[in-house]
């Protein structure tokens, strides 16, 4: 019998196809994203895209969850199985304490790099260095929220994961 996970899998395949085709418009889009990631001579548009990325942390977390869901083959497992037998990777150290905090940090890091690059290109301390300081502070706040035990006190005392960023 066909597993119910085939439907999310179909949606993933369709979404990936939409992100790749048509090449005429998608190649420039991915080039722009690459320039945002590398902070290579950022223009107004790259700053705009970087700002959008900082608002899409939750979506990026879900995309990471989706990639793990598809790659691990969990979409083939029946829905009626017990919760404990599903998504073992979602409770692993590398996912909760490494991947999810990194995903939270990366958009801020991209904007931070862009601000520093703009400062190097133009030599103007304001507003580029001020913006860089803002994003550096944001990264500190994110790291604090991810790893400070204060935010885990209300959770299971035997659990040392990053509960703030746990998807499910």
């Amino acid at each position: 019998m066909m597993p119910s996970g085939i439907f999310p899998f179909l949606l993933v395949v369709y979404t990936v196809a939409q992100l790749v085709f048509p090449l005429r418009t998608r190649v420039p889009m991915w080039n722009s994203i690459w320039q945002v990631v590398t902070a290579h001579s950022p223009s107004f548009y790259h700053g705009y895209v970087g700002d959008i990325f900082t608002s899409m942390v939750k979506v990026f977390q879900d995309i990471a969850w989706t990639i793990c869901f598809v790659v691990s083959g969990d979409w083939l497992i029946d829905e009626d199985l017990k919760q404990s037998t599903r998504h073992v990777w979602a409770h692993s150290f590398w996912y909760k304490n490494v991947l999810i905090p990194v995903i939270c940090l990366l958009p801020l890091l991209f904007r931070f790099n862009q601000c520093l690059r703009k400062f190097l290109d133009t030599g103007k301390r304001f507003p580029h260095l001020a913006n860089a300081a803002k994003y550096a502070l944001s990264q500190t706040v994110t790291l604090f929220g991810a790893f400070h035990p204060l935010y885990m006190m209300h959770k299971d005392p035997n659990h040392h994961g990053v509960n703030l960023f746990q998807v499910r």
Partner: protein, 140 residues
């Protein structure tokens, strides 16, 4: 867009109202819900970008110049909205199918066949004039 609205209403009705009325679990409680959340987030981004381009075009903001776009590959707002509608339709249909299959396997609603037949008919209606030239004679 009307079909998107109807399907969206259907999703809301089944996934939210079903929970309020009968105590069935919502689609948010399903295993693969983050997959739909991820694709839904990308869809919202596509809708927002389409709306932005529409407003910029409507009020003559030269975003092509501001963003350093290549004018030869810039899509019109209508094209962007059409793509967003197609993707939203696929998303909502898959979401409904997934929810119904899960609900029927766990003893909940069992109108999976209804969803399947409606999806087929809506697909025929939506793509009729684009892909079926024999129907264009009815277009007035």
């Amino acid at each position: 867009m009307g079909m998107c609205a109807v399907l969206g209403l259907w999703v809301c009705w089944d996934c939210v109202w079903g929970y309020v009325r009968d105590g069935y679990s919502t689609i948010g409680g399903r295993t693969a819900f983050p997959v739909f959340r991820a694709c839904g987030g990308l869809l919202i981004l596509q809708w927002c970008w389409s709306a932005s381009v529409f407003i910029w075009t409507r009020y003559r903001v030269n975003y092509i110049y501001l963003f350093d776009f290549d004018p030869r590959i810039v899509s019109s707002p209508t094209t962007l909205f059409n793509e967003a509608v197609d993707n939203t339709l696929f998303f909502l249909v898959i979401m409904l199918l997934y929810y119904k299959v899960c609900a029927s396997s766990s003893g909940g609603c069992t109108d999976f066949k209804l969803v399947e037949s409606n999806c087929f008919s809506s697909n025929r209606n939506h793509y009729s004039y684009q892909t079926r030239p024999e129907l264009t004679k009815f277009q007035t």
